[in-house]
Symmetry: C2
Subunit: 449 residues, 2 copies
Amino acid sequence: MPRFPAQPQKGFSDYFPDVLRAFRHVERQLHRTAALFGYEEYDGPTLEPLEIYAAKSGEELVREQAYVVRDKGGRELALRPEMTPTLARMVAQVQKSAPRPIRWYSIPTCFRFERPQRGRVREFGQANVDILGTPSCDAELEIFFLIRHFMENLGANRGHYRIRYSSRRYLDGLLAQVVGVPEDRTVEVRKMIDRRDKLAPVEFEKWVREAFPEGPVADRLLRLHEFTDPAAPPLADVPAAFRESEGYRELVEFHERVRQTGLDAVAVFDPTIVRGLDYYTGIVYEVHDAGTENRRALFGGGRYDNLLELFSNEPMTGTGFGMGILTVKLFLETYGLLPADVGRPPRDGAVYVACLSPAQRGYAFSVAERLRGRGVPCELDLDFAKLGRQLQRAEAKGYARVAIVGEDEAREGKVTLKTLAGGAQETVGLDDLPARLGSPGHRPDRAAG
Amino acid sequence: MPRFPAQPQKGFSDYFPDVLRAFRHVERQLHRTAALFGYEEYDGPTLEPLEIYAAKSGEELVREQAYVVRDKGGRELALRPEMTPTLARMVAQVQKSAPRPIRWYSIPTCFRFERPQRGRVREFGQANVDILGTPSCDAELEIFFLIRHFMENLGANRGHYRIRYSSRRYLDGLLAQVVGVPEDRTVEVRKMIDRRDKLAPVEFEKWVREAFPEGPVADRLLRLHEFTDPAAPPLADVPAAFRESEGYRELVEFHERVRQTGLDAVAVFDPTIVRGLDYYTGIVYEVHDAGTENRRALFGGGRYDNLLELFSNEPMTGTGFGMGILTVKLFLETYGLLPADVGRPPRDGAVYVACLSPAQRGYAFSVAERLRGRGVPCELDLDFAKLGRQLQRAEAKGYARVAIVGEDEAREGKVTLKTLAGGAQETVGLDDLPARLGSPGHRPDRAAG
């Protein structure tokens, strides 16, 4: 028996090439979208001081979920559970010099000790896209455009997903001034609303009624999810003070802009969107599967006004989102949106070089190198087996064409080019080979642009 | 005063966009080279059980250098100090089904607690390229071709770097049968030779003479680095038994193939190449700066025959290398081989959209989205400042062209397209804009192929 299991630790993943390609597909579309919007990629340390997460992300996340390393100096470092504190730290270093707004993105690996389940693992890639230095909600509009563009790049349309938005400031005002939640219970109620999606309606109702057994608060809370226009909360007595509050005006204005720019095709106001993290202060948003297959939010984000305060005396506002690569991959699988060939190695334009005997080894290497030099991907068979065996291997590896090298070919500076499907073959001189194979620089069907 | 410093922990790095681009440049060339050679990318967990490193990489590496996390189940996990044990574990899962040879690569983040210095940090990206299942040294030849191709992609030629190779089996035989090192001191002497490059010659000599104060061993060890042909050790009495050993025959044959395939232009035999890791069994190799600026090896690798034994009952031989992305970046800087514009955001074909007033916001967003839909990267100014200010910002962000949107433009479905250098401007209709900007699908100078 081997000494150790071949499987990874629970909650951790092996990414074999066929699996990794699906993740890379999602990441590539994000890189592409980010570039189209002028966002620049950054990265930071996987390990940061534990305190910066405790100070900003909420105690629960850190104490229950962090992987903690004590370095040789005795300092407690956490494997980052999220990227935003690192972003804040880095922005604090350049906030005086960088042209605003700062448009940055990253795809860090993050770690949380959670119970593994569908879409939730202990180590995960999480894209982060942020725009800092623009106080107006045009920044949120841009982020929504970016999300839509990204989803379209992935092949998703308005039938597949929905951006749902609300505002922390609006909700707090609504709870205090309209629903009548006592100030010291705001945080508790926010959390209840945040978890509403994860509970059956009867369970949620039971919970609310137990929390507010007397007065009208429970009834009002239970009607919260019913309205779709932030200017029209479904409650009889909405005081003027609420309508004049910053949270109200900001969200109503944003709602209007979403409509004006046509984003309402994919984005809807949803008063139950709260976001769990403590640092959000303004408009918050999530992206959800429009169906019921994937209940976890695909993206989550919001506006933060005070994020830099741990690292800088100068405040800087920003908004941005995190997006789980795995979550998006599962979403694409649900709707059949992953490219059909994502599981197979890309062998477009590639060729397998079969070599009949060790005596032609040097020639076979030089054929392969010449092809690669012209941009033709090229894999060399290295065990000089019978030709049939080598052709089988080429097929198993996904190649459509094989360049066969034997004694005659080596002597004459040629190869026998064989197409596996159909079996047609021809002898081609080395100089003509790249053009014959349609290398990137010589693809006949691309000649006209 | 802010509560926390804005700087990362000692030995850890913030990758601001201008810095990250240089790392990505190195990685991109590796992805490109790997694809040309038919290598597929894989990835694995950042955390693995501590024991698998202790069992395979040598005690020192693990006890002194590993960052250790105790998970909630009490198990000790290490942040991977290297990728090879993970590779072995993963290969063990697919060794029966995957077509051979397995050609895989990865660019994992690894962690070692070391004293930070030039080229050495505590968290680092390390490319790993391996070929498994081919016992012959043609696998090593392929790896050397791949290294040369990669270096050429980076702009490095034979004047910049050297591949140095030897063999563990050969060296052990040489030490035992030719130099006369007692078997129980082989490991100690291997380590001395491995560290030779890091010491001044007098220091090394002192060390060797103290270790072997009597007999001819010290003198012989001090002459070891002098020879360049493995078939001709510079010692009078080379016994026939050594010349018949597997280690000797294998290395001499490999040396000859390197010559035959022309790889000797960049690769030389060097008997002092040992490699520190315990799992190497055959041919080992390093890539070094041909000059003196960068003393650390750029790449290091070798043949391992027993790597899978921790996870599988079936042995599988392989060879491969690790390569520090930072080390290669420093090498490129030394020789001025980083692209001149790597520090600046790529704005090729991109356009900045300036919007003169909030009333045209919706139109400005739609202009930007239309351009992006045609593949034109497009950044939108979001604060409606005076035009001059917006143009300055466009320039600071590296844009060459600005699409200006005001009342007239919005009404007429046009933009004013301004070239910042020179200041020429013209009015262009939205439909003509992508072609006018030379979007990827419509670049006039590409039309002919």
